[in-house]
């Protein structure tokens, strides 16, 4: 059975998203929404220009996850639950390579 995050951890993740992550990804018309924190895993979705973006995984793993883990070392993983196939305005569209 998974363990829900303490309100404190969830609110600290939310605070990071609100104050650091979303202002940054807004530059590409994107936004990140926190879904939940369970067992020290952060579940989120990516919207706007991030949804379906060819660079979304880079943003998530090398940017968002690294930032959250640095600020909140108890977080073990950040997982993207976005349905990227439904993105209609991705910032980067993948091409042939």
């Amino acid at each position: 059975m998974s363990e829900a995050a303490t309100p404190d951890l969830k609110s600290r993740v939310q605070d990071l998203i609100d104050t650091m992550i979303n202002p940054a990804v807004a530059g590409h018309g994107g936004f990140v929404e926190l879904i939940d924190v369970q067992d020290n895993r952060v579940y989120l979705t990516m919207g706007g220009g991030c949804q379906g973006c060819g660079a979304a995984d880079v943003t998530l793993k090398a940017g968002i996850e690294r930032l959250i883990k640095e600020e909140l070392p108890e977080v073990t993983e950040v997982l993207d639950t976005t349905d990227h196939s439904q993105g209609t305005n991705p910032y980067y569209t993948a091409g042939k390579s």
Binding site: A24, H28, G63, T93, S97
Partner: protein
């Protein structure tokens, strides 16, 4: 082995390969650093994980990484396409990491240089000629035999590749490629922006060999048949199926010819993707790229107990052991869904029916609703990919065709 090893992945912002390489890095537990040609919006917040590099200038990219890595030592570097493979090789050489020599990778990137090098090494290649875009195409056509194929020096995935059977078709193709090279979405420079290649059209079956070079030895990973005829005027890739149904002796000749091509180019380390034609005269090398297969096609491949191609590539780049390079037993295949015509994608119908087709593993629509579609030879994107796995290559091919027939793309 794993844990704290730091790996630099060179990922163009528009590559299909990001998800699979990032997943592989996560599986391996490496400390992943991603570099792109355009800055990430998060780079300032995560400078240990994100870099911006000019992939078109490998020397400057290597200088930046050398400085950056003084306090963040790297255990490996990997590119994912032709452009980033060249940058990765230069970075690897500078840092003493595992990769082919930058000169060899650069030669493989330029179709003219590659053919010169292979011909000099005695590897069968079509007769070829480089033609400056400033030349009069009518006069240039006098110097080639028909049918011939015109192509840019450095674009991939059949972009700009056109067959010409007559002088009139040659001129049209020549001008079409010149216009393509001038497009905003084409980033070529140097010779690649000034020349086209005209080469003999080689009739026959086409195959693709995926391999990994380790200390100069080619380890074939998969040989794909391309059952749809590629006779022009454009050369749109559709179905790839492995294992090959060609006779073992022919397959051996393909492997041997590819190994000779790699040796002729001086490639010694990392993934290679080779395209060959096969006819009564044997295999002919069309391309040997110092990278792995493009698009999402690598998802057809699994090794040992489920290792992905990307995991193998990253393990090799890191100098880690690889338990096996043997592909799983079932046949597998992919269909790159062709773009039917130019327009804006309005809707995709029949997706559930396509996914429900027997032996179909997945259907990924990579184009998004509202996207402008540009067919070959100017286009560079697929509508998506269909993946199948079955006990025989024939079942795989049938499944791919049935699934594709159930899809309908509404384009306005």
């Amino acid at each position: 082995m794993g844990g704290s090893a730091r790996l630099l992945l060179l990922l163009p912002t528009r590559t299909y390969r990001t998800e699979d390489f990032v997943d592989a890095a996560r599986t391996l537990g490496v400390d992943l650093v991603c570099a792109s040609e355009k800055p990430s919006t998060l780079e300032a917040l995560a400078p240990d994980g994100l870099l911006t590099l000019d992939f078109a200038d490998p020397e400057s990219a290597a200088a930046i990484v050398a400085t950056w890595s003084v306090e963040r030592p790297l255990a490996g570097v990997a590119g994912v396409d032709d452009v980033t493979a060249a940058a990765a090789a230069t970075i690897a050489e500078r840092l003493g990491l595992r990769a082919s020599a930058p000169a060899a990778v650069a030669t493989a990137r330029d179709k003219f240089q590659m053919r010169q090098c292979l011909a000099a090494a005695g590897v069968p290649v079509p007769r070829f000629r480089r033609i400056a875009l400033g030349e009069n195409p009518v006069l240039a056509a006098r110097g080639v035999e028909f049918p011939c194929v015109l192509k840019p020096l450095s674009l991939s995935a059949s972009r700009g590749v056109i067959r010409a059977n007559t002088t009139e078709q040659f001129v049209v193709a020549f001008e079409r490629i010149a216009a393509l090279l001038a497009r905003d979405d084409v980033t070529v420079s140097g010779d690649a922006a000034r020349y086209v290649l005209a080469e003999e059209y080689v009739p026959g079956l086409e195959v693709a060999l995926e391999g990994l070079l380790i200390q100069g030895r080619l380890h074939p990973l998969a040989l794909f048949d391309k059952p749809d005829p590629l006779e022009g005027p454009f050369f749109e890739e559709t179905i790839y199926v492995t294992p090959s149904r060609l006779p073992e002796a022919v397959q051996r000749a393909i492997r041997d010819t590819t190994a000779a091509a790699c040796a002729g180019l001086g490639l010694t380390e990392g993934p290679v993707h080779a395209e060959l034609r096969v006819n009564d005269d044997g295999p002919w090398v069309l391309e040997v790229a110092a990278r792995s297969i493009g698009g999402l096609c690598s998802r057809t491949l699994r090794f040992g107990t489920g290792m992905t191609l990307e995991e193998i590539i990253l393990r090799h780049a890191l100098g880690w052991s690889i338990a096996t390079l043997e592909r799983e037993r079932p046949a597998a295949g992919v269909m790159m869904i062709p773009t039917p015509r130019a327009g804006v994608l309005k809707e995709v119908q029949g997706l559930d029916a396509a996914k429900a087709t027997r032996h179909i593993e997945d259907v990924v629509i990579s184009a998004h609703v509202g996207q402008e579609l540009i067919p070959l030879p100017e286009g560079w994107q697929y509508l998506g990919f269909i993946f199948a796995r079955a006990s025989t290559p024939a079942d795989v091919e049938d499944a791919l065709r049935v699934a594709h027939s159930r899809l309908r793309f509404v384009v306005d």
